[in-house]
């Protein structure tokens, strides 16, 4: 199974991935609603990376009390079943799901051709 991976040494922390994700998934440039967050910042003199994206570990699907999350080649969330309880977010080791308006939003890898990977200017994000 192909998964998203971040090669930190190439990452500029430019957040283009989140802006592009929100464009294709939310219809507006709204990175706060993106299905991944990758940023870096300086802290105590060092460069710190904070990355939040789905690694397809499947923990969310196994733990969803409503059976709303299914993992095959990628994650799908059935919003007719999802009640936004937040269990997926609570259990996720990468803090990846976004809960808003009582629904969970999880990366679906753009169904196998992730736009974040396609547009990453320094190829820091890979799908392999």
């Amino acid at each position: 199974m192909k998964r998203l991976k971040l090669e930190k040494e190439k990452c500029l922390g430019c957040k283009l991935c989140a802006v592009v994700c929100s464009a294709y998934k939310e219809g507006a440039y709204r990175p706060s609603a993106a299905r991944l967050d990758i940023q870096s910042h300086y802290e105590n003199g060092g460069l710190v990376y904070d990355d939040r994206f789905c690694i397809l570990c499947g923990i969310c699907a196994k733990n969803c009390p409503e059976g709303a999350i299914v993992q095959e080649e990628y994650i799908t969330v059935d919003h007719s079943k999802c009640v936004g309880c937040g269990t997926c977010l609570e259990k996720c080791p990468k803090n990846a799901p976004k809960i808003r308006d009582k629904k969970s939003y999880i990366c679906d890898t753009c169904e196998g051709t992730p736009n974040c990977v396609r547009t990453c200017p320094q190829n820091a994000l890979v799908f392999a």
């Binding site: 706060s32 910042h41 904070d50 200017p121």
Partner: protein
């Protein structure tokens, strides 16, 4: 509304109030955003002869319609005010993510006016705006300030911060974000300090809307691939502006020892190849793509940079060839919140004063380690640092040695020696904020591309105008200088895609001219005219002793000729003054 949020956040620190008002779209149509739009606002809102460090001055944080979109190199913000260094208008472009956060918080512009009663910082979290106490933060260096605010409010906030230099009202004080990105020039950090504002922290969760998101995004990504990530631009990623060191040295425009000469045979000791061996990581501003930031770790510390300007002033211009000394200078200047260019020019001038016996500042050429001591003295106004903290022009007025100062209107020279690129002396002279290399970058034409002869006045008025027009509109659309292949066709296409309003290439040209004029109109109202569009004495009197431009100096008649040409191109009179009808057309 497309591109813009249509909203301005106005914070009055004296009254302790804030409010949201509609953006003047009639002005946005004429000035786009960022540089041009903020100057138009200040032309309207600042009474003539406002003291730059008084509560009556205002500090504007202005995005553009492209801010927050995936457009490459759009991660900038214009910080604009009346400059305490020059008394002119002064807009400085700062990178990082603060521009996008302001936009996502819902504002095209933030206007900060008045003065807080006590040391404070401003917290903007979407529509929640507060002025918080800076107890425990005031007095700290710029890096720690950012750390403390992010620790308290979360690292998803972008922070503008000043160092001790801004608090102590040095006219060379800058504003920092992301540790190492600066609104560097013109003392805007002192304006912030004068308002008792240590920092501005912003987080936004909103959106920027465009008419057709798929078409716009697809086209932007196409441009990213076909026009941005191409060989003419990607040196920015590989070595950044350190590449200019070799080009300037080879072209005879790398200043050495306080602009007393050019070229340095030892430049390979501290060039990009050497500096990149210290590299630990890469950084770029919002949606940049190119990533000019090089995070370096060395024995004495860490820094992102140094950029060409800092290398030059802390290296050859100071007679220093130790890369770690240059990196340390950069690290300390940023933390103190001092513009590396202006502070460096003051220090190298002090070195020459000592060498020439005019005044003993206790520092001589080559003494790199002492440069950091002087930075601290200036930031805290200790000893003679108190006099140096207000720039080289005022320092020379007190200590003598004005024939060895390099400044225009009180703003110190950037690191491009005009005797090897005569057009640059005109560019520095007519720049809206004093000696600035970002207004019209003459060496690119005269030296790097060798597309115009460097040692002549002929044609330089038109050449500098063309360069200035392009930069004026580019910075009003809020695009970074490093997108070197950008042209009016792409810029107008992007503005059209994002705003839904038709922008043409002619509009780009007209807007550029209008932006130059509104800045000039502001300065003219403050009393500026030809007499302040000056060339430093050294460039007229002393011929260069070595390098490719050996023997060159700029005759006063040649400089005057260039000024006449430029004024002619702009439709200004012989005194550099604008006719009333031209000013009226800008309103």
């Amino acid at each position: 509304m497309f591109g813009y949020t249509g909203k301005v956040l106005r914070i009055n620190l004296s009254a302790g109030s804030c409010g949201v008002e509609p953006l003047r779209m009639d002005w946005a149509d004429k000035y786009i955003g960022s540089k041009g739009l903020s100057i138009r606002y200040l032309y309207e809102e600042l009474a003539p002869h406002t003291d730059p460090l008084s509560p009556e001055n205002k500090l504007l944080l202005t995005t553009g319609p492209l801010t927050g979109t995936p457009i490459p190199c759009s991660g900038k913000l214009a910080v604009t005010s009346k400059s305490p260094a020059t008394g002119t208008i002064s807009d400085a472009s700062i990178g990082g993510h603060i521009g996008a956060e302001i936009k996502f918080a819902g504002y095209d512009m933030v206007i900060i006016e008045g003065r807080a009663q006590d040391p404070s910082y401003i917290l903007i979290d979407d529509d929640k705006v507060s002025v918080e106490s800076a107890d425990g933060i005031w007095g700290k260096g710029a890096y720690e300030t950012e750390d403390l605010i992010k620790a308290k409010h979360g690292c998803d906030h972008s922070v503008l911060a000043i160092g001790p230099a801004g608090e102590n009202l040095s006219t060379m004080a800058c504003i920092n974000t992301d540790y190492y990105r600066q609104a560097g020039r013109g003392g805007l950090g002192a304006v912030m300090g004068s308002k008792n504002v240590k920092a501005v922290a912003v987080r936004g969760t909103g959106a920027v809307d465009v008419p057709d998101i798929k078409k716009t995004t697809d086209r932007i990504i196409d441009i990213l691939t076909s026009d941005v990530l191409v060989e003419d631009n990607t040196f920015v990623y590989d070595v950044g502006t350190t590449a200019f060191l070799e080009a300037c040295n080879d072209g005879g425009i790398l200043p050495s020892k306080n602009f007393s000469d050019t070229t340095d045979k030892d430049w390979v000791k501290y060039n990009g190849d050497v500096l990149m061996t210290y590299r630990q990581g890469k950084r770029g501003c919002g949606c940049c793509g190119l990533g000019c930031g090089n995070f370096l770790k060395f024995k004495g510390g860490t820094v992102e940079g140094p950029e060409y300007e800092t290398i030059s002033v802390a290296g050859p211009n100071a007679g220093v060839d130790d890369p770690e000394s240059i990196m340390k200078y950069n690290e300390v200047a940023d933390d103190m919140g001092l513009d590396t260019i202006s502070a460096g020019d003051v220090i190298v001038w002090a070195m020459e004063m000592t060498e020439k016996g005019i005044h003993d500042f206790g520092i001589r050429f080559g003494e790199g380690e002492k440069m950091c001591d002087l930075l601290r003295m200036m930031a805290y106004r200790e000893g003679f640092g108190a006099d140096l903290a207000d720039g080289v022009k005022k320092a020379a007025a007190k200590y003598g040695g004005s024939e060895y100062t390099l400044e225009v209107k009180g703003l110190e020279y950037p690191q491009y020696e005009p005797r090897g690129s005569w057009g640059m002396s005109l560019s520095y002279a007519v720049s809206d904020r004093g000696a600035c290399h970002m207004r019209a970058y003459a060496p690119n034409v005269e030296v790097f591309e060798a597309a115009a002869p460097p040692y002549t006045a002929e044609g330089k008025g038109e050449m500098v105008y063309q360069l200035a027009e392009f930069n004026a509109v580019k910075f009003s659309a809020c695009i970074c200088d490093f997108w070197a292949t950008l042209d009016y066709a792409i810029l107008s296409e992007l503005l059209t895609l994002v705003t839904g309003k038709e922008w043409t290439e002619q509009d780009m040209s007209d807007t550029g001219r209008r932006v130059i004029n509104i800045a000039r109109a502001f300065n003219q109202r403050e009393g500026f005219s030809r007499k302040e569009d000056t060339i430093p004495k050294r460039l007229v009197k002393e011929a260069l002793a070595s390098g490719p431009a050996k023997g060159q100096k700029i005759p006063k008649e040649a400089f005057d000729d260039m000024l006449d040409q430029y004024y002619g191109v702009m439709g200004w009179d012989k005194n550099g003054l604008m006719p009333d009808e031209l000013i009226s057309s800008l309103m």
